[in-house]
């Protein structure tokens, strides 16, 4: 047994004795140990970077699968394995949300398995597959956000259920897909259900007891959003006006206003702020969210929130897309990176956004510093006004201007976003962000829709096609890119046949890893994107590539298992927009490459 394991056991024991130990102290320790992968995003800052360098540019071609494990679940597998130094990998599955503890030293023998008992009626209200983005760990406990809105804590030792808390109601369209984050002895988790007219909220539960500590809504009165118009900042100034979460909606619409924060949460321990984005507003038909026939901001949908981790109070807000007309769901991860800009050190927050724009904000004040297109086909907005922080929308691609029951064509990017939830990676060595990208555009036709509790509340139909060919990527629907968050420029980019829907990883071995929808895990040179190694897993990858070191050996591990929105949209290929009526799926069909099935694959160099 490694010394690390003993050392950790001691740490865990001390934490248990002292009782009130802050969970983030434990996690801070774990994230600083480069051998571990204790958080889904690698660290609180969301960087998905590892300082391990045993596997490097020179030997990566020798990397081989050491063992594989089938989860027995067919749906899309997002998220990835956790390694906290106890000789096990902890993994999860989509609905029915199994949790496995696997023995690394016995090639994945099941130490224990937990399977919750959930109402299958939650399955059809999960709009885009029954995915789950993974476990959180702190102080010997594992935390999971079940599809049926139950937050649970399990003993990592034996899988015993320690507590459970009800976070929502699936009969009203609420569900959960996200990975919780543990901060200051609180488990922070948000709801899903933006396509069912839910009201988005993020909630903190006591990590030891499961008691609710605070809840902040994405819409509604300030008292429930946990926002103070005199002190909460927007673009560096106080918000000013009260209850914008009510007044920027037609009468009562905020109650079904969406803004579900189903993506990743990051945390800055020095500022004691958590960061996350809220989802799309209620119906996709913008006309039903207009006030007096005019566009209305629908606050605080598609908004980056910086909240005090202990009270939930919003320190600042930045609405990326006021009055959404394209379903540019604002949940993408907020990477916390320290940058130098115009000779000044800044605490930055970088987003590779659904909208096709790469943002850089000041994470202390929420000021917008950079907003540039990373996907050149992006056309819904020409640019962002850096003084107001608002996008300048092109009326040709405004589905509100074009109108209800009008098919607005050739909007880029698609509602899937130029990047979806797949979390990016930041390398402090290169100062660049690495991300999987979708190169897909859409036609969008809004229609009137009536709200019925528990029923879809969508109000638009859309068709998707690959981004236009003049981007030099004929027939390609994805890419993997290196992005300079300060200059706002793509540094290099490699093409992929399909949208890249997996989380990225960078390592001190000068490597970047990602997975493809066909099922390849790839390692590329961090300097230029040259492919150095690939392996075909049994099914398409929408999970994240993670790394850790156990008994002196570095491992790479990934969950494969195609599904999610990518699987629904791309299974049978897309049509050629030029072909018009009668088009067949000329662009590669995902179903020709891969089928369903969740598998964990663990790689290492030969001895």
């Amino acid at each position: 047994m490694s010394t690390i394991k003993h050392c950790l056991t001691v740490v865990a024991a001390v934490a248990l004795v002292s009782g009130a130990a802050q969970a983030n102290e434990n996690l801070l320790e774990l994230q600083d140990n480069s051998e571990l992968w204790a958080l889904q995003l690698g660290n609180y800052a969301g960087n998905r970077h590892s300082r391990l360098d045993q596997i490097d540019r020179d030997n990566v071609q020798d990397l081989r699968a050491t063992w594989q494990f089938s989860t027995g679940v067919l749906r899309g597998h997002e998220g990835g394995p956790l390694y906290v130094g106890d000789g096990r990998l902890y993994i999860h599955t989509p609905f029915p949300n199994r949790v496995f503890a696997l023995d690394i030293e016995d090639e994945g023998r099941i130490v224990w398995m937990y399977e919750p008992d959930q109402d299958p009626r939650v399955v059809p209200i999960m709009c885009c597959d029954t995915v789950n983005r993974g476990l959180a760990y702190a102080d010997g406990r594992l935390f999971l956000a079940q599809a049926d809105n139950t937050v649970i804590a399990l003993s990592a030792e034996d899988g015993e259920l320690l507590w459970s808390a009800k976070n929502g109601d699936h009969t009203r369209g609420e569900s959960m897909t996200m990975s919780p984050l543990v901060v200051n002895n609180k488990v922070i988790v948000g709801n899903s259900g933006g396509e069912f007219g839910v009201r988005g909220h993020i909630t903190a539960y006591n990590a030891e007891t499961g008691e609710q500590e605070w809840r902040g809504y994405s819409t509604g009165p300030d008292s429930e959003v946990l926002l103070d118009p005199e002190t909460t900042l927007m673009m560096g100034e106080p918000v000013g006006e009260a209850d914008l979460g009510v007044s920027t909606w037609p009468e009562g619409e905020w109650e079904i206003g969406g803004g579900a924060p189903w993506g990743w949460v990051t945390y800055d321990p020095e500022l004691n702020l958590i960061y996350y984005g809220s989802g799309n507003p209620g119906t996709w038909n913008p006309a039903q969210r207009a006030v007096d026939g005019e566009p209305a901001d629908n606050k605080w949908s598609i908004t980056v929130f910086a909240r005090d981790a202990d009270t939930g109070m919003a320190k600042w807000v930045y609405q990326k897309v006021p009055f959404d007309e394209w379903d540019y769901d604002g949940v993408n991860e907020n990477q916390l990176i320290d940058v130098e800009m115009n000779g000044e050190e800044r605490k930055g927050l970088a987003i590779i956004d659904r909208t096709g724009f790469g943002f850089l904000l000041d994470r202390e004040t929420g000021e917008l510093l950079v907003a540039e297109k990373f996907a050149p086909e992006t056309n819904w907005a020409t640019h962002y006004d850096m003084d107001t922080g608002r996008p300048v929308v092109d009326p040709d691609y405004s589905t509100f201007t074009q109108g209800t029951d009008v098919n607005t064509t050739d909007i880029c990017p698609t509602a899937m976003g130029a990047k979806n939830m797949q979390p990016s990676s930041y390398s402090p060595d290169t100062g660049l962000i690495y991300a999987g990208i979708n190169r897909i555009c859409m036609n969008y036709e809004p229609h009137e829709v009536e709200y019925t509790s528990g029923q879809p509340y969508v109000g638009a139909t859309l068709t998707m096609m690959p981004a236009p060919g003049d981007n030099g990527m004929e027939g390609r629907m994805g890419s993997f890119m290196a992005w300079d968050p300060v200059a706002g420029e793509v540094v290099w980019e490699v093409e992929e046949r399909f949208a890249v829907w997996s989380g990225a990883l960078t390592t001190a071995g000068n490597l970047a890893f990602y997975g493809t929808l066909e099922g390849y895990v790839k390692a590329v040179d961090i300097e230029n994107g040259d492919e150095l190694w690939r392996f075909k897993t049994p099914s398409g990858i929408i999970g994240n590539v993670n790394t850790f070191q156990h008994n002196g050996k570095q491992y790479i591990a990934v969950l494969s298992g195609v599904g999610g929105w990518a699987g629904i949209g791309l299974a049978a290929g897309l049509t050629d927009p030029e072909e018009g009526l009668g088009a067949v799926g000329v662009f590669s069909a995902l179903e020709d490459y891969t089928k369903l099935g969740g598998v964990l694959t663990v790689f290492a160099l030969p001895d």
Binding site: T461, A571, A572, L581, E591, L596
Partner: protein, 142 residues
């Protein structure tokens, strides 16, 4: 669209469908679906079926009825299933494999009103009379 009269009609239609199903017969169950496609343009039934499909079914069954990683192709279903079988599945839902859930639409007036249009649209797609994408109506642009 949303008048009281229409609502009442829908409720009646649903009730009628349910009755037919109870009696084990649906008036048109053994007939080939009738539709008109001219120069790639479609009649109102198909167009309404396309709209209803994209609004209510596409999120799971994928674009244009082709199926997805989440739910099977409905082109195949339209070929292999009678309208009665098809309508029963839509009304009652289905879960053959655990966790693979086709919801029941019996409470969804919009869908129940359009089941036969959806079936017609999918049949036209399955027969190869209609390609992928948003079809144009025969009256449009004329």
């Amino acid at each position: 669209m949303r008048t009281k009269q229409k609502q009442a009609a829908v409720v009646c239609a649903v009730a009628a469908l349910a009755l037919f199903m109870l009696a084990g017969k649906i008036a048109i169950s053994n007939e080939e679906p009738r539709y008109r496609v001219e120069d790639g343009k479609v009649d109102d039934n198909i167009f309404r079926g396309y709209q209803a499909y994209t609004r209510a079914c596409m999120a799971c069954h994928g674009p244009d009825g082709v199926g997805s990683s989440f739910a099977p192709s409905l082109l195949r279903a339209a070929e292999r299933r009678t309208f009665a079988e098809f309508a029963r599945t839509v009304a009652e839902g289905q879960e053959i494999q655990p966790g693979q859930v086709m919801p029941s639409f019996s409470d969804d007036a919009f869908v129940m009103e359009h089941v036969s249009d959806i079936y017609t649209y999918l049949s036209a797609r399955a027969a190869g009379d209609l390609g992928r994408g948003r079809p144009q109506r025969i009256e449009e642009d004329e």
